[in-house]
Amino acid sequence: MPQPTNPQELIERYLYAVGRRLPAKIRKETEKELRSLIDDLLEERCGESPPSESDAMEILTKLGTPAELAGKYIPDSFNHLIGPSYYRYYKTILAIVLASAAFGILVSSFLAILVPSDTTPWYQLLGNLLSDLSVGMLAAVGAVTLVFALFERRGERLQPFTPGYEIANLPPVPKENERIPRHEPILEISISLFLLGMFFFFSDSLLVYIQDSHIIPIFSREVILNHRFLLCLAFLAGIPVELLKWIDGRYSLRLAAVVLVSNLANGLLSAYFFRLPGLINPEFWQTIETVLREKGALSPTLEAVFQHWSSFLIATICIGLAVDAGVTLFRSLRSYALNKAEKLNPQL
C-alpha cells in the first residue's frame, strides 16, 4: 500500500478510517467536526508555517487509532456482546456445555474405534474425531453465545420497574432439606448432553449385543437418524428444569410446575419414539430368539415380554418420570407449606 506523501492525504485517510467505523447517521458530521479539530491542532502546532507529515502524524497518534476514536463515539452497550450482569452465567454455562459435548464426542469416537466390523482406517477415524470435535465445539460456543447475547439485548425488559421491588421480594433462605446442591443440575445437564452426543455421533453401534465376538446393533440406524430431531428434543426437554434448579437452588412450586410439564413432554416423546416401526434392528431379534431357543430358555412369558417390549420400556420410563415428578412435587409442597406456616407464626 503506498504511504501518503503529504499531511492532507494522511488526514483524509484517517478521517475515512474513523468514519467507516461510525454509525451512518453521525458519520458525515463527525468527520467534518474532527477535520476542523485537526486543523486547529495543526495551526496551534505549526503557526503560519505549512505542516509537515510528521506534524500530522503526531497529532493523529495523540487522537488514537481510528478504531479507538470511533469506539468512543459508540454507546457502551454496543461495545460488548455480553455485559457484566450475564458474563458470570455465560462462562459457567459455556464451560458445562463445552465439557459435556467434548466428553460425549470423545467417548463415542473411542467406542467407534473398538467396533471390529468397522473397516475405517485409524487415521480417518482420528480425522473424523478432530472434525467432529471442532464442529461440535464451535456450534456449542455459537449457540451459547447467541442465547446470552439475546438475553443481553432484551434483558432490561426482564428487570422489575419499581426500585426496591426485587429486594422486597427476595425469597426466604431455603432450609437444609429445601436446597438443591449446585452440582446436581450441572451433573444432570452434562449427562443429558453426553447421551445426546452418543446418540448422534455413535448411533450405528450404540447399545450392541455381542455374541461370539459378533456385534449386532440393537437399534436401526436409519430410524434413529430419521428421528434425530425428536431424540434431540427428548434429551433437551429436561434442560430448562435443570437450569431452573441451578438458578433457584431450591424446591418451589414454580420448579414443580416446570418438572411436571417437562416430564409429561418427555413421557409422550418416549412413548412415540419407542413405538416407531422398525426401531429395533431385525437381526437383533432373530439372534436373541435363536440364542434363547438353543438354550431352551424361550418360555411363553419371555416371548410375551419380547412381543410387548416397547410397552414395558415405556411403562418403566413413565414410572420413573412419575416418581421424579412426585418427589419434586412433594418436596416443593412441603417447602411451600413450611414457609406459609412460618409466615403465619414467625416463632416456628
Partner: protein, 117 residues
C-alpha cells in the same frame, strides 16, 4: 509500576465523573470543541480531544446541549451551548458537587470534625 497504573486509573475515574460538570459550566455561551479544550486546560482541567468530542456528542444526544454550525469564518466550526434541560441538570449537579466537596474536604482534613448527630 503497578501502583502507578492503579493510581492513574483512580485519577481517571475522578476526572471522568467531574468532566460533565466542567463542560456544562462553560457552555452558557456557545463554544466549539477546541475552544473548550483550551478553556478547560487554562483552568487546570486537562482534557484530551478524543475524550471531549465524543462527550459533547453524547451530551447533545441526551438533550443537555444543542449545536449549530458556523460557516461564516474561514473554517466551519460546530458550536455547542447548554439547553434549558441541561441548565436544570447543571444547577442540581453543581449543588451536589459543592456539598460533596465540602464533606470530602472535611473528611480529608488532618483533624476531621465528627459528623453532627
Amino acid at each position: 509500576m503497578e501502583k502507578d497504573e492503579l493510581l492513574a486509573g483512580m485519577i481517571q475515574e475522578i476526572r471522568r465523573g467531574s468532566l460533565v460538570l466542567c463542560v456544562l459550566s462553560q457552555l452558557r455561551c456557545p463554544a466549539y470543541g477546541y475552544q473548550l479544550i483550551t478553556l478547560l486546560n487554562r483552568n487546570g482541567i486537562p482534557v484530551e480531544a478524543n475524550t471531549l468530542y465524543p462527550l459533547l456528542r453524547r451530551l447533545e444526544n441526551q438533550g443537555l446541549l444543542q449545536s449549530f454550525w458556523d460557516t461564516q469564518e474561514s473554517k466551519p466550526r460546530k458550536y455547542y451551548s447548554i439547553t434549558a434541560t441541561g441548565q436544570e441538570i447543571y444547577d442540581t449537579l453543581r449543588r451536589y458537587w459543592i456539598e460533596s466537596a465540602q464533606a470530602i474536604t472535611r473528611l480529608l482534613s488532618p483533624d476531621p470534625t465528627p459528623p453532627q448527630a
